[in-house]
């Protein structure tokens, strides 16, 4: 078949893509017989779990990879046609996942100019395009800065500007928000919408269902094949099938399903929370006063702290100043006070730069307080008598993207590294490694002699976490352990953390941007803002302050947000729900005519 319809910017005909795996020399089929077309000016989201072939597909559109069989046409050109390679790459630009590893130059504007320079465009025209592109992504005021001083979201916007400056007709974004915090993610999504409105065709590969729901078409891939293809409304009708593929559905879809099961009539094509709220609340203006009264008398037992509980971590007047005395001195932490009780599950939230990372590095002595003290198990770790090795044994710290710290030839050796450093014998270290590997949910016999680098992304992360757990710490700190994972690995890691807590009798401190996870798992929440501890309370207490949280750049768990929206629309409901189940119960109580109290 040849290129047929001029309306289609991309036409994929029976695409088959195979490659040879380096280790085993086996032929792997990454994409099997995929055909579809993309209309000019459309906005398509491609979702699918890791290894489903999404990224391979994207690279085939940009001619970074060429089909084994079948054909890909971009703007009428066959991607195999070497004479038009540059036209293809210019008209279908690509933005990648890692904001750092796609910027070439040490000055923002020079980086944006990189593409046009490669195309041999006149300097004056490059200047015009660079300025225009930077203004479009709202980065013009940063044009002279160095990328390494920018936040992840800003870098990603520069990367988008770099593609925009090439005047593409289509932009393919391969998980552009996976490594960003919620604020950066929102900014990037805004830019994507704006570009779409200007007529650019968008292909967005993502793991976030709320992002996919914003597209006008969703293609779900699994095992190298297209499984579902349609508008978000059509696709999310198949909630069951999507879950079978280990993917998520948006909150509103899940909620609507539950409501239907409970006998409340909700149309099937609801996919966004505001729609659901509007549907449920068509006639409830004026009844909100009752709820107001209830909220006032709401006596949550959460506030009380158990006097008998023993603190395992105590932080007193902690202050940390970076580069004191120098012109770029900055106060990262200021007068932070809190305690963490034994066997509790505490979440630490706050936007990027609020001091979370600095704080957790104090808890195992990687950073020393400028002022104040940190006490572990009743000992001040800064008084010089306590050995750092003992602190590291008691407090395990798993950094973000911990798989990047793996280094040994085999999984067993890597996991043994910590215990051996602590001075345990080889046998004891291996025994601990075995326990740890099993605790993170891997088959010890199967993985122990394999290279950690040959494992999948989710497995690598488990091995890295096992490397810390093998030290059998009393307190386990995890810095965004689910960052960048697909929905299935995300869920698996959370389950693993719950198992570790239950079976290992460990106190957990979880740093997270995912409010849904925080609401579901934590029994206490520490909120950081601008280097200060903004709040320390139960999830109920913290998430009841919705407006203030949004002022410091934090969101709500989807269920809580849903209840807030209901209440704002006038429904007499109480907004303390943290999980889907809570929200469902609250809505049912209201709908069945019982008072919310």
């Amino acid at each position: 078949m040849s290129y047929t319809n001029k309306e289609d910017i991309i036409q994929i005909d029976h695409l088959l893509f195979q490659y040879q795996q380096e280790e085993t020399k086996e032929t792997v089929t990454a994409i099997k017989d995929v055909s579809f077309t993309l209309k000019r000016g459309s906005f398509t989201a491609i979702i699918g779990r890791n290894g489903s072939g999404k990224s391979t597909l994207a690279k085939n559109i940009n001619a970074l990879l060429l089909p084994t069989e079948g054909t890909v046409y971009v703007n009428g050109y066959d991607t195999r046609d070497k004479d038009h390679l540059w036209e293809i790459r210019q008209s279908a630009g690509m933005v990648f996942q890692n904001p750092d590893n796609q910027l070439v130059s040490s000055i923002v504007e020079d980086d944006v100019a990189f593409g046009p320079e490669n195309l041999g465009i006149e300097p004056q025209e490059i200047r015009r395009r660079v300025d225009e592109a930077l203004k479009k992504v709202n980065m013009y005021q940063h044009r002279k800065r160095s990328p390494h001083h920018l936040s992840g979201g800003q870098k990603q916007r520069v990367a988008i500007a770099g593609v925009v400056a090439m005047r593409p007709e289509c932009i393919i974004l391969d998980e552009p928000t996976a490594m960003l915090d919620p604020k950066g993610r929102a900014q990037v999504m805004d830019i994507i919408h704006q570009l779409h409105q200007e007529g650019i065709t968008i292909v967005l590969i993502t793991h976030f269902m709320d992002e996919a729901a914003q597209a006008d078409r969703i293609i779900i891939m699994d095992d190298g094949d297209v499984v579902l293809d349609g508008t978000p409304r059509e696709v999310f009708l198949h909630g069951g099938k999507i879950r079978q593929l280990y993917l998520d559905v948006p909150f509103a879809v899940e909620m609507a399903e539950h409501l239907r099961d409970a006998g409340i009539d909700v149309p099937e094509d609801v996919i966004e929370t505001p729609e659901l709220v509007q549907y449920l609340c068509g006639d409830c203006v004026g009844t909100a006063i009752a709820a107001e009264r209830c909220a006032a008398t709401d006596t949550c037992p959460d506030g009380a702290t158990d006097a008998a509980a023993t603190p395992v971590v105590e932080v007193k007047h902690l202050r940390h100043v970076f580069s004191p005395g120098l012109p770029f001195e900055s106060v990262a932490l200021d007068d932070v006070n809190f305690t963490i009780e034994k066997n509790s599950f505490t979440a630490l939230i706050g936007h990027t730069g609020s001091g979370k990372s600095t704080l957790i590095q104090h808890l195992n002595g990687l950073l020393k307080p400028t002022d104040g003290s940190v006490w572990i198990d009743g000992e001040n770790i800064g008084d010089g008598k306590v050995k750092l090795r003992d602190i590291r044994r008691k407090v395990g710290l798993v950094f973000q993207y911990p798989e990047y710290q793996l280094f040994e030839e085999t999984v067993l050796k890597d996991v043994c590294y910590g215990p051996l450093n602590l001075g345990f014998s080889q046998e004891e270290a291996e025994a601990r490694a075995k326990r740890a590997i099993e605790l993170v949910g891997l088959d010890f016999e199967e993985v122990k002699d394999r290279s950690p680098f040959a494992l999948s992304g989710g497995q690598k992360r488990r091995v890295a976490i096992a490397g810390v757990i093998a030290m059998e710490p009393e307190v386990l700190i995890l810095d965004e352990p689910t960052a960048g994972l697909d929905p299935k690995s995300h869920r698996d890691i959370l389950l693993m953390i719950e198992t570790i807590k239950k079976e290992g009798g460990v106190t957990i401190l979880l740093v997270s941007h995912n409010m849904g996870d925080v609401a579901r798992l934590a029994d206490r929440v520490l909120v950081m803002d601008g280097g200060r501890l903004w709040m320390n309370g139960t999830p109920h207490q913290v998430f009841s302050r919705a407006e203030e949280l949004s002022e410091i750049g934090l969101g709500l768990p989807p269920a809580t947000e849903f209840m807030y929206r209901l209440k704002l629309a006038g429904a007499p409901v109480d907004t303390s729900a943290l999980t889907v189940q809570d929200a469902l119960n609250a809505v049912l109580e209201w709908k069945r005519g019982e008072g919310p109290c």
């Binding site: 540059w86 630009g93 890692n98 040490s106 490059i126 710290l397 950094f399 710290q405 450093n421």
Partner: protein
């Protein structure tokens, strides 16, 4: 901790020196450095010193930054001085045991120190008053004529600019990995040399892997943005000689004439 290292030593500014074409600055600096070897009298050094002082003044870079470069090689300067003072044969001024200070020694010592200091400060001015990125552009342009003899001018410049871009990234990465391994009980500071070298493996292996990952991803991203080497490439900031460069050339010629004149007279 590693993050605090500042790379390169560019001092931002808009002075006439900053605005010169990088090629002019590179060539002028090279000529200036060579001229220092041509000088054989203190009067000559006086001229060289005045010339450099005027350039520094125009550039607006504080003297403090200029002398920073000297500080790092302070020991070498002292050593050169002492070596010359004690080892040059000639009229003995003063002696203590086997140490002999000669008039010629003192003269050569001072001579060498002045020359070294001017060399360092002169080349510092180039790096202080030129953006690293323009410096690579300048080097690329100057190497281009050698391309027909197989010198990969564009590739060398591209490598240098990518290095500039990624050194801070790799330093951050090193910092992260180091902390992660320390959290697993690693000790990078104690033990003998062999133990310390061994303790670096858990740092270096992940670092190399990161570097390779970055390289693969960056190469892919560059290709996606139509990178195909130096051919037919245009630049956002094309280099062009301006009035400033012509003035600089004239000033440099005058400086060289004065030096030659001095040498002829003395």
């Amino acid at each position: 901790m590693l993050r605090d290292i500042t790379l390169g030593q560019y001092f931002p500014g808009e002075s006439p020196i900053h605005r010169l074409d990088p090629r002019t600055k590179i060539i002028a600096t090279m000529i200036y450095l060579l001229s220092l070897f041509f000088v054989n009298s203190f009067a000559g050094f006086g001229v060289a010193l005045i010339f450099l002082a005027i350039c520094v003044k125009i550039s607006g870079v504080p003297m403090k930054f200029m002398l920073k470069g000297l500080k790092t090689i302070f020991l070498i300067v002292i050593f050169t001085f002492l070596l010359n003072v004690f080892m040059t044969p000639g009229t003995v001024l003063w002696s203590f045991g086997f140490l002999r200070v000669t008039r010629e020694g003192l003269y050569t010592g001072v001579f060498m120190v002045v020359r070294l200091a001017l060399l360092i400060v002169g080349s510092s001015l180039l790096t202080l008053a030129t953006k690293p990125i323009s410096l690579t552009d300048g080097i690329e342009a100057l190497l281009r004529p050698l391309q027909r003899f197989g010198v990969p001018a564009h590739e060398v410049a591209m490598m240098m600019s990518i290095a500039l871009r990624f050194i801070p990234t790799l330093l951050d990465e090193t910092d992260k990995i180091m902390k992660a391994q320390m959290a697993r009980g690693a000790d990078f500071e104690s033990g003998n040399l062999l133990q310390r070298a061994k303790s670096l493996i858990p740092l270096l292996v992940p670092l190399f892997i990161s570097a390779f990952r970055i390289a693969v991803e960056l190469a892919m991203a560059m290709e996606a943005r139509c990178y195909r080497g130096g051919e037919n490439r245009t630049r956002l900031h094309p280099m062009a000689y301006g009035k400033g460069d012509r003035v600089a050339a004239v000033v440099l010629v005058i400086y060289l004439l004065i030096l030659a004149g001095l040498r002829f007279i003395m």
